[in-house]
Every structure is written in C-alpha cells, then in structure tokens.
Amino acid sequence: MGQNILEIENLSKLYRLGEVGTGTLSQDLNRWWAKSRGKDDPYSKVGQLNDRSGNAKSDFVWALKDINLSMKPGEVLGIIGKNGAGKSTLLKLISRITAPTTGEIRAKGRIASLLEVGTGMNQEMTARENIFLNGAILGMSKIEIRKKFDDIIDFAGCAMYVDTPIKRFSSGMRVRLGFAVAAFLEPEILIVDEVLAVGDAEFQKRAVGKIKDVSNSEGRTVMFVSHNMSSVKNICDRGIVLKQGQHIYSGTANEAVDFYMSEYSDLATAELALRDDRKGGTHFRFSQLSIMDNNGRQTSEAISGESLTLKIDYKKLKNLSLDQGFISTVILDKYENIVAVFRSDEMGFTLKDNSPAGSMGSIKLEIPRLYLRAEEYYIRLIAHESRPRPDNVLDYIDNAFQLNITAGDLWEIGSPNKPGNSSIFPASYSPV
C-alpha cells in the first residue's frame, strides 16, 4: 500500500494557438502568404489564452504547467478548477489521448477513463458487443470480460436490451451502461470526468456508491473531476485545485473545496454602489453584497443544506437619522417567483444609525441552513425608513445578486438532494 500507483512529474502541455484554425491546405497557404508580407497570421485569433481575459501575447499557451502529483492505491482524488483550468487536459494526458510537451507520467496497471458519456460506444453495435468492445479497449481478454458481464448488465439495468443496438437506447441508459462498463472492468486507475452531471438522481446515487466501493473495498485509485463541490466533498479523500494550468492547492477534499471557493470570491461579491437600476438610493444606498460560508470566508457558491451568511454594506449619502430602519432580503427564482422573504421588521431587528453623511455600515443576515434546492436564485434588497410601506423606501435593488446554490447533502443521507426551484422544509419519513 505504501507505494505509489501513479506518479506525475513536471508535466506540461503546450498548445499552439496558430494551429487551432488549421483545416485545409488553402488556409495554410493563406497564412504563409500573410506572413511573407509581414502581416499577422489571419487565423491566430481562433485560439484562446488560458486566462481568457486578455488577448494572446504569444502563439503558445500552457494548458498545463509543471504538474507534480502522486497517488496511492485506494485513493480518490478530486480535481477542481474553473473551465479552462487544465482539468480535462490533465485527464487526457493520463489517458494517453494526447502526448505531453514535457514531463513524465508513470503508472501501474490499467487506466480506464470515462471522459464524457458513452465513451467508445459504437452506435450500430448492441449492448453486448459494446461491453466486449470496451473491455477490449481496456486491454482485457474475452474471458475476463465474460466474468463481469452480468454485473455490468445488472448495474446498467438493461437486461432486456442486451441485444439491441445502442443507437436505440435512451440517453440515460447509455450513460448507465458507459459508467457500468468502466467501473466494473476493474481498472487499477479509474478516471471519471463530469459523468455525474448527467443521469437521474437515482443513478447518481448508485454511481457515487460504486465509486466509493471501487476505492474502498477494491483498493483502486480514482481521479474525479466535477464542478459539483458537494460530490467532490462526498466522494474524494484528497483534492487539488488547478488554475490556469497550474497546480495551486492540494489538501484534503474539504480543504480543497474551501480553497477553491475562496479563490473565486470575486464572484461572491456584487458591487451595488454604482447601480442605477434602483428605486431610491438618494439618502441611503446599498453599496455591496457578499456571501460567506460558515467559516466567515467569502464563497462563490452556496450549498443546499449548509449555512449561508449574506453581508450587506451600505453608505449614507445625506444626513439621515435612522431610528427605525428596516431591511428586507428577498430570494427569487429565475422565473421571478418569490421563494423566501427575510423581513427585519418581523424578525425583530431594527437598524439604528445616526452617523453623518458619507459614513458606511454593514449588516449581516445569517441563514443557519439553506432549505433550497440547487438552482439559480436572485436576491432583491429593500431598505425602509420606518415600518415598511410603499412610500417610505430608502433603497430598492432588484437582481442585486445571483445566488447559485449547488446540491448538497441536505437530508444527511450521503448523497446530494435533487435540483429544482422549490424550497424544502425540515421533515422526515418513518414507518408508523
């Protein structure tokens, strides 16, 4: 157990931007003609720089730079990062789909990768043929595959359709079959990329269970890429964070998720001072809204079933004696239905602030448990001079903040709850 099963040393991958647009000989001739006249490469704009904000300064970009990593049998590693951080490139290099520019990867045993759904499935062939094909792609013999065949069919739940071509399968069945093949063919290293994003909740739950099983009882190594932070926390032992192709953090899965969320805290803050799509705001003005997790760190994502704190900053523009100020925070879904209202007047909080013009202040709203399903929500902020009435509004901002809630283990059963717009209440089922 002490020995590494996978080692990655100084791994880098360079992409040439100019080549991205290459398709036909005429384009290359065109490029050569432009260059010979001292003009810019007409196709180089196609490429994108890895930090995605500015223009490319050179023709080359490091999709991955100097990655060092080692894994032991039975470990589950979560790889997190924004789109374009290099997660998929890393998995592609390990799965030998493209060659690295520098560095080395050393591995023991078979590597099975599940990059996207239905990997290596032939549409014309039946489920049975596809299972054998996929097993053979992993370098397994027919006998080895035959031993696992029934388990795979069982997990995928497609016993009736074993001899039906894959093209007639529903997309959900294809996903289940693809996952089952990769998970049951017992690779020493299993690479899973965003597969849990598809399929229904029941499949996701079983898939998570299978991944845990594969690592715990069978001692296999799993590399897991996901944008779903709660499944990373749930499945992985360790986590690494990639940013612009570089390895910027590694630690336990929980630490890595926390680090990632705080790294992107710029998404967690909305500047409100300069917004002009507001009502009021002449005397009292909301200036900033940010969200924080239970450790008081700024975060970009709220998790269903976990705590959330909203920090509301304001500024007084004119002299105004507030003895009976009230704040209302409204959460709306994307169809503009109100799903929750937090009125400070009914919650027994009064804002008292008699400081002079130009002074600033902050209030926080603490929600100990977020009883909302994973979805996009919007926050509306309202301040009233006294008991809320339509004619005493101090400031009103609709759509002050987009609150992204990701699914979490709200019911404490070990798997994330379903997404959706509805709110949830604390409740439980039991036999009478």
Partner: protein, 287 residues
Amino acid sequence: MKDVSQNNEWDLLIKPKRKWLDLNIKELIKYKDLLLLFVRKDIVTIYKQTILGPIWFIVQPLLSTLVFMFVFGNVAKLSPAGLPQDLFYLSGVVCWGLFATSFTQNATTFITNMSIFGKVYFPRIIIPLSKVTASFVNFGIQFLLFLLFLSYHLLTGTTVEVSQTGFLLPLYMLILSGFGLGVGLIFSSLTTKYRDFKFTIEYGTQLLMYLTPVILPLTKVPPKMQLIFKANPVTHVIEAFRFSFIGEKAGAFSVYGLGYAAGMTLVILFIGFIMFNKTEQNFIDTV
C-alpha cells in the same frame, strides 16, 4: 518521489517524445481481442440494415466486371483475344479491390475515428490493421467467386491454364494490401492536417485504376505509357495473378516485377508507419 520510482516497476510510462518508429509488439498482442472485434464490426456492421446483406460482397465485383466486359471488352475491344472476358475482368477487379479497400479505408483513419480517439486509448495502429484484416476477408469471399467462374471454364474446356505460381497467392495478397495500407497510412496523416487530401482519395483511386492493367492487358498499353504502368506495384501483381490463374495470354509473370513491387511496398509501409506514429501522438490537438 524520485527515489521511489527507482525501485518501482512501471507498466506505463508516458513521455513527450517517442522514437520515430515505435511499434510495441507486446502491447499489440495484448490487444488482439480488440483487433478481432474491430474486424468483426467492420464486416458485420457495413451490411447491417441492407436487404441483400452479405450478398453485397459479391454484387460489387460482379457489376464492375459486367460493365467492364461491355465497355472495354465489347465496345472498345481491348480485352485479349481467345480468353474468357469474365475471368479477365473479374481477376482485375478483385485484385484492385484488395488494394483499393486497404487504401481508402485507412486514408481517413484519424478523421473518422476522431470521437473514439479523443476519449479512449488503445494502440491506434489497431484500426488500420483491422481494416486490412477485414479487406482480406472481403478478398477471400471474392476470390471464391473467381474460383467458381474459373472452375466453370475449366469444366467447359475453355483455354484456361492454371500454373504453379498460383501458390504465390499469399504473396500477391500481402503486396496488394501492404501497399494499400502504406499509402493509406501516409494519407491518414496528411488528411488530418489538410482536408484537401480527403477529396482526392475517391477520385484518385478511380483514376489510378486506369493506370493499372485492370481494364486492359499490359501488352496493349502504348509503349510511352508502359513505364507509368510499371511504376505502380499493383500492375505487377495483377499481371502475375492473371498468369497464375488464367494463363500466359492474360498476363506475364515477372520475378523482377514482383521483386520491385515487394520492395516498393516495404518502403511505402515504412514511411507510412513513421508518419502514422508521428501523427497519432498529437493529432487530437490539431483536428
């Protein structure tokens, strides 16, 4: 990390640059089941959802033979006198077919398999090898058809001579498919970067066919054109095949010709493998 790696036995080592000819035979043997599955897939799925099914294997050469008999045999009168036309054209079509399928099936390997190459690893050369194996099967069926025609002519007493050089059939097959594979591998690397070559494949093979003795015996080729015909390795094999199974009026057996064809095939195959090997490492970044 470094000191651990010293005493470890790694199954897999991924490095940036590979040797320019990197054929891992051990790995290929491990993947032999995959090869067989691909061959099966190629043969079975091509005629799935067709009414005639596997009959298509023989319909194509039969139709071409009929057309050639009508156009070149009866209208243009190019076929050699005193020989059964059906055997003459069928032999050309069947031999050409082995080369042409080996070539066209492999010429777009990277483009057609982009989706699977982009997601899973297996030795990429498995795909061309499976195509060649499938074209052997195809050839086998068509050769049986040819034997059927041949035996009819033998029984009815037509002037057909079968000679001992017929035992060299495996060599003929290897040269035809090997040359097709070699050119196919070269094209597969080119088509990855320049799609222009894709359009030349179908048309080019058709044109090239008229530069081989498929439709007329080498003896009827104008002297100026002889060299162009003889530069093509396929020419020598078709000639030898016809000599072996129809007789000396249909074609000539030349040891030098076959030697040239075999040598040329090896050179082209070698170049093809190198180009394929170079392309497979990074092609997914450029397609």
